[in-house]
Subunit: 211 residues, 2 copies
């Protein structure tokens, strides 16, 4: 447990990539893979991969490589994908609707319980099986339903207020698409997807290559 | 110029954040700000901020803080936002449509020139002023039109093939939403938005807090 606390953000950010590649190997019926082969596939060095896996106690035997199924299950468990998570989306604009329609998340174990928006024209509409409700009902919905993750797709100006409502009602994780660094207590996890920042980074890199 | 080559990815990733906060200060008519005040706003330490700005030659005078307008303009220029960029979106599913509808990007200087999809039902539909075309016409479109950035919103299995078409036609930047690490020559920049990986990171962080 103490060991886990020391795991760096860099390692954590690589875990979902391992998970994705291992899922692909499983789909292709690959039973066993060496760190060298995995390295060629993922693009991290073999020693990086061994070091990362050692953070979690190490899998695989010297000279035999890794059992793909076991490694996949271990990483699932480390990521917490052996459980299911209930989610709500706040903000049913373009991004909110795109996320609601993204079937991949259901397969990972994420159950969308509600969608909320300020726009009355959207109320009552359904995305897949979930109705879009008035954002004013978010607080009471959260009091009556257990929700693990709030997916924040509202404009910048509303983001902090909605985040506060989520936090006050015990939501433990916020996936934040609003272009704002929200303030939350240390007991709540936030992962930002700041699309504009990502696009601006791309432009910087393109221009830098030309210099 | 040589100096710029040494700028670390960590600094580069912070630039869009500076840009966003400075734009907000400008909107609020703030003329001048100290690294300490900027630090409280952005959440990086003041010494981090001074160090970052020094990478680009340094702005601001000791004891006087930074001129917000000047700093904003400088960072715009460093990011390459003093130019405009023509873009195409490939894949008009949920994410592709969301990006096409995102008006913020136009303001930054990104002009959407085309949207391409494999699905005949979408062909001829318009998102804002841009028609969705058959993906089979992408290659000839790119030969006839200058495109700087390709926004890749196709499924994993198609992503590499589309990326190759973009690269072969001189596209210099790929903003990749497909859950795949695409292979491109060193002369092409790629910025990934891997939504599933971001969500899995959030879940890891949530579970880690509970330990």
């Amino acid at each position: 447990m103490d060991k886990k606390k020391e795991i760096s953000m860099a390692v954590i950010k690589r875990l979902p990539k391992y998970y994705r590649h291992l899922a692909e190997l499983l789909r292709n019926d690959v039973d066993r893979i060496s760190s060298k082969e995995l390295s060629e596939k993922i693009g991290f060095t073999a020693s990086q991969i061994r070091q990362d896996f050692n953070c979690f106690g190490g899998f695989g035997q010297q000279g035999y490589g890794y059992n793909v199924k076991e490694l996949y299950n271990e990483i699932s468990k480390i990521l917490g994908l052996d459980k299911r998570y209930s989610t709500v989306i706040i903000g049913a604009g373009n991004i909110g609707q795109a996320i609601a329609n993204y079937t991949r998340f259901e397969k990972f174990g994420f159950d969308l319980k509600g969608i909320f928006d300020v726009n009355p024209k959207l109320h009552g509409m359904r995305i897949k099986d979930v109705e879009i409700s008035d954002i004013d009902t978010l607080d009471s919905f959260l009091k009556e339903n257990h929700v693990d993750i709030g997916i924040l797709c509202v404009p910048q100006m509303q983001a902090q207020k909605v985040a506060d409502t989520l936090v006050d009602n015990g939501v433990r994780g916020i996936w934040n698409f609003a272009p704002l660094d929200i303030d939350v207590p240390e007991t709540v996890s936030v992962e930002n997807v700041h699309l504009s920042e990502s696009l601006l980074t791309l432009v910087y890199l393109m221009n830098d290559l030309e210099k």
